[in-house]
Symmetry: C2
Subunit: 476 residues, 2 copies
């Protein structure tokens, strides 16, 4: 599809207007963000409970200042969330919900920070503080983004019905998030969800994440003798639960490193040739990826590349195993029990309930006589995936492309997150927009965000609302 | 071989003489034993260090009173042992070394004892005290035994060169035993070793134990990523050491529950048809054996009975396995490492060094790329086995048969012990003579010994020295 001359001129003019607005307001924007970053909203640490609340209050006020007619602090049994809403002046406009979080990981100077983690510092192109990238910076860029959108288009309200939900317990596992979303499903209703809590491939490679794997967590406990028994008196004549556990785990994958649980791959949405080609185009250096993985060799499902394995293929992983004597030296026993902790990463098309049933059946079939098997599953997270040709995805790609002036590529996320609950409860496609880069050090000392990328985030946000409303090249 | 009339008369007369002597001296014998049992010689508890020494001193004095011209306390870097020697008046007589131990397991009234564990109590046919069966009672029956032997035969010295070695650290794993035996190999030199630290099948089934399995202990540590890594970001694309450990353990046995390490069975002395028939004759109730094993099903090498599996077949057992997250809930990681503790029970014909090499080669062959494997072996205990037709074994069987007036059957011991060091260093066959029964509660509260069986032990001892000297039916 080639642009017309008019469209190109219009787009250039809009881009220019947005950039000018951002340039004129960047100092105030950064000052505000730094004020927010000074609030140590560590949700995992009880001594910061009041700070998390202060952070929510601060954000609600900031969103009101930005122009959101509604900005509320929503209580949960844990830390509060912030909800804001800015209706479009076009009643037929689509509704977009932005998701992020205002709590941060713990941080202390003595963990290896060069400066105080809650005293933001700008050094060259970097803004260093806990939460700079994860996730306050990436939540806050939408405030200047929506203002730039209004300024550049001459509107008084956004081109979409804009909603924001910024939770306060993401770094603590979002224990109350799903219930909150279910409770408030009416007010959160949206056509599209934009998750603003991820990153992009690299500084010079803007990308949009199109999906996230789901997660089913499982614990299998194998019971043998009613207590540890002497391996000389009984060993070799009764079943050993550690051996049974090992045989179960060994049977989890076949010789092609595929998951061997019957029915595990039922419904899996396979990668298209185009997706595989796009993944392959990403500048990927396996050696440096292995360094990040602290590993010396790759290993995984036959027929797939490393990126495909992480992003688009379901897996079964042993997270822990334990049974019998684990102290120093030796103890000649047949252990009474052995426990295996497994996690299954799921991709689009897989159903956690089906996986649970498949694993239960598979385990029950393989447990030898004399061994009792208990299988426990925790709450599952569903996978989410937006097809490459989805219009909303195309909107994000165009908005980001205009901000970066470069082709936008596609990634996926191998991990799993509460965003899937939004897709699940609201029934809206979830898109992931982030400008953080791997070197930003999420959860690590000296977390930072690159200022130029942060402002590209603002710029992407400024273009996004018009794109999502279908007003491609709106300009003042 | 049928007895002549003279032999039968002579045997009856000797049996009678021994019984009369024992009957006349049993009160003093039991008083002495109870005095010894009052010394809480718990080698594992530092607060009893002085008691263990007192126990050694007490025993050395008691052996001198018995008539041993030499009875010495032998120092070790840990608790002292007692050595005693009583040469035969026949310089050509064979030399016999009796092994036992004077230390005991910990015991406290509050563990569930009905009376004070170090205040011996006689109730009916039972003498209850810590150490009554394991092992003071079974060491001490030789003192009255050798006196009865002398009294019944009119000798002034035993028919064999009699030596006793009674160690003080058996309940603490005999850490200095082998070094002591090596150091004192000349003084301990013997043609036959009698281990007086086991039991018999059942009250009405006297048995002699003909062998003990050996033991090789091994720890295999599998290293994957240099630290725990995120299972969403990396899982399914790098090798998981817990999976590798499980696959290794699963490969330890084939589908017939045979050990699948190549070369593991090299040299194994197979059971003879006669041995299998003799095992099968023992009154064995699998249901009650399973109760003792606290297990609900048997499982083991195809083609062998439970007793054969425990006594006569080598095994590979997982004693412990541990890696990754083992706390409550879940943690989505690929663990950095996983450790497996294995023990191999060995039977006659197997060489621990060969087993170690076989396991190292087997493990090295099976470790996937990206996983580093460390295999560590501890000190091994060799197996020991005396053939059923060995003359010394026949002597023990005859002595016991005369004491019990019943056919003597054969057992083996599935466990492993320091006695194997005696066989190894001294090059003498090791025979196991014991009169304790499974209900005696070794290591448990209310340990006891049946008084009639204890005195059958005295009687067996009284007949044994003449049998071993080849003087079958010596009588006064």
């Amino acid at each position: 599809m080639s642009k017309t001359v008019d469209e190109a001129v219009s787009a250039d003019s809009a881009t220019h207007a947005v950039r000018t607005y951002i340039e004129n307001h960047r100092t105030a924007f950064l000052d505000d963000l730094m004020e927010w970053l000074r609030i140590p909203s560590v949700s995992a640490q009880p001594e910061h409970t009041a700070d998390v609340r202060r952070s929510a209050d601060w954000l609600a006020a900031a969103l009101r200042r930005t122009g959101f007619p509604t900005a509320e602090v929503w209580e949960t049994p844990g830390a509060p969330a912030v909800f804001a809403e800015w209706p479009s002046d076009d009643p037929d406009a689509p509704t977009v919900l932005v998701y992020g979080h205002h709590d941060v990981q713990p941080a202390a100077r003595e963990d290896g920070w060069d400066t105080e983690p809650f005293e933001p510092v700008v050094q060259g192109n970097r803004l260093r503080a806990r939460g700079a990238a994860d996730d306050k910076g990436q939540v806050y860029f939408h405030t200047l983004g929506v203002r730039a959108h209004l300024a550049a288009t001459g509107r008084t309200a956004p081109a979409v019905h804009l909603k924001m939900l910024v939770e306060g317990e993401e770094e603590s596992g979002s224990p109350h998030f799903r219930a909150l979303v279910e409770q408030q499903a009416d007010r959160l209703a949206a056509d599209t969800v934009i998750v603003s809590d991820t990153g992009m491939w690299a500084e010079d490679t803007p990308t949009v994440c199109t999906g996230m794997r789901g997660l089913a967590e499982c614990e299998i406990e194998l019971h043998g003798p009613a207590q540890d028994i002497h391996s000389g008196s009984f060993g070799g004549a009764v079943p050993n639960p550690a051996t049974a556990a090992a045989r179960l785990v060994a049977a989890l994958h076949d010789e092609h490193a595929r998951v061997a649980v019957p029915g595990f791959y039922d419904g899996v949405v396979e990668l298209t040739d185009r997706e595989r080609a796009l993944f392959a185009e990403l500048p990927f250096d396996e050696r440096s990826w292995l360094d990040t993985a602290r590993s010396t060799a790759t290993h995984g499902e036959a027929g797939y590349t490393t990126l495909e394995r992480i992003w688009a293929r379901p897996t079964a992983e042993v997270n822990g195993i334990g049974g019998g004597y684990q102290g120093p030296g030796s103890k000649t026993i047949v252990p009474s029990s052995t426990t295996v902790k497994l996690s299954f990463r799921l991709v689009a098309g897989q159903d956690p309930d089906h996986i649970e049933k498949a694993v239960r059946d598979w385990a029950a079939d393989r447990v030898p006589a004399g061994i009792r098997c208990e299988v426990r599953f925790g709450a599952a997270t569903r996978p989410c995936l937006t097809p490459l040709d989805h219009p909303a995805l195309q909107s994000v790609v165009r908005a980001m492309g205009r901000a970066f002036g470069k082709p936008v590529r596609f990634t996926r996320e191998g991990g799993s997150g509460p965003a899937a609950d939004l897709q699940d409860v609201l029934g809206a496609p979830v898109l992931f927009l982030g400008v953080s880069v791997p070197s930003d050090g999420w959860h690590a000392p000296n977390e930072k965000i690159e200022l130029d990328l942060l402002l590209k985030g603002v710029e992407t946000s400024a273009h996004l609302w018009g794109e999502l409303a279908g007003n491609r090249y709106e300009a003042h």
